[in-house]
Symmetry: C3
Subunit: 167 residues, 3 copies
């Protein structure tokens, strides 16, 4: 692969520690299966997109998940929880390399980060489900930092069945 | 999985960077096989428990490892080292999402974190051994921050044979 | 394994956040396949060595990759890119536990860190490629922090075919 990384910009008015805390809370909420706490990390009109890297590179609009508001995202979560009723999956999101790559001068920061998702299905081994990058927009709200946009780009060309997981 | 994540509290009198350093030293000591340095990160009467998630959720008291002091933990390590004499394992602990979830006002902080354990057995591939969360108590001592309590909850319902690894 | 971990030293004149940012940029550049951005994180006469743990422990001089300057490293990257023309690999470097272990009083800091490399080959699952530790030298330059030396020690006794990946 030969591409171009988004260059780092200054944190600006944002505190690195607080931004990282947002990601840490994000992973913790998802892995505890606390969907209410997870949804609370998005603003009302946040966009949330999950897309394979190949589609991004080819400029294809097709996404695995595309929600244009927190309400849509909440509906999607309900659907997922219902689907997974029979086979429980425990997830573990490992998020690293949180980097400021745009904005930062006002109340809006663009960030990228790496994620690794592990999954344990009851009675089976823990295994790597997927890895990828986040392409996000973090904003300042009265309640603290929140995601105004999140695009999870996973390292794959195919859409595996179990990509039903939230990234 | 549908649960409840422990909510973040302020770092209080603790410095986020120092707490994270404690975890980094913890992983580095374990992965170098430096058990003396690892034991030194616990206070004398620290408790150390390794338990599968299923047991925690069902309220079962059974734990894979339960030590009520650093002395017991040292004995346990000796036993493990002896057992592993024939098949050497190299471990790699990836610890992320260190979060303050209680205390922080005095010399005691409750933290959670995510861990991922990889293992390489000589001549074989590196593979994921397990993942999970730490539920810890960090205290201030004259020698710096130390663990007064650590509970490693791994994402599994079964106790794999090789969970002889230290988490 | 029973070894000795390199003890932590103070960050000294270095800022923990900036050093971590160097590693985050390193991982992001490699995983975007942006080799120019990656090479830019080394000084001109930087050394870059990739070596299996077993060789380090036995004191064997043999390394998988050994470059004594950024120029040599650039040549090596060109060779790799050519080799990988047919089977594209997407990598994901997870770097944690960045620790200061020497220097720090002037413009030179010795650091260690843990890495985990995941690889996705087009159309296949994401899998763990290897894990290990970095043994690095970070220096202050007019352009910011850079690597003057990097030794990637991977947890293996054998040299897998695909260790053609950059660590």
């Amino acid at each position: 692969m030969s591409g171009k990384v988004r260059a780092r910009v200054p944190w600006g008015t944002f505190d690195a520690e607080e931004v990282r805390a947002l990601y840490d809370d994000y992973a913790a909420a998802l892995d505890a299966g606390d969907h209410a706490a997870w949804l609370d990390l998005f603003i009302d009109d946040a966009s949330y997109v999950v897309v394979p890297l190949e589609n991004v590179e080819r400029g294809l609009p097709l996404a695995t998940i595309r929600c244009e508001s927190r309400g849509m995202l909440a509906d999607r979560v309900d659907a997922l929880v219902t689907t997974q009723f029979l086979a429980r999956r425990i997830t573990r999101h490992v998020i690293t390399a949180v980097r400021p790559v745009g904005g930062g001068t006002g109340d809006r920061l663009e960030t990228t980060a790496s994620f690794l998702l592990l999954e344990t299905i009851e009675g089976a081994d823990t295994r790597v489900q997927c890895a990828g990058t986040y392409d996000d927009i973090v904003v300042v709200t009265a309640a603290g930092l929140r995601f105004a946009g999140k695009r999870a780009i996973y390292d794959a060309g195919l859409v595996p069945t179990s990509m039903a997981a939230l990234l």
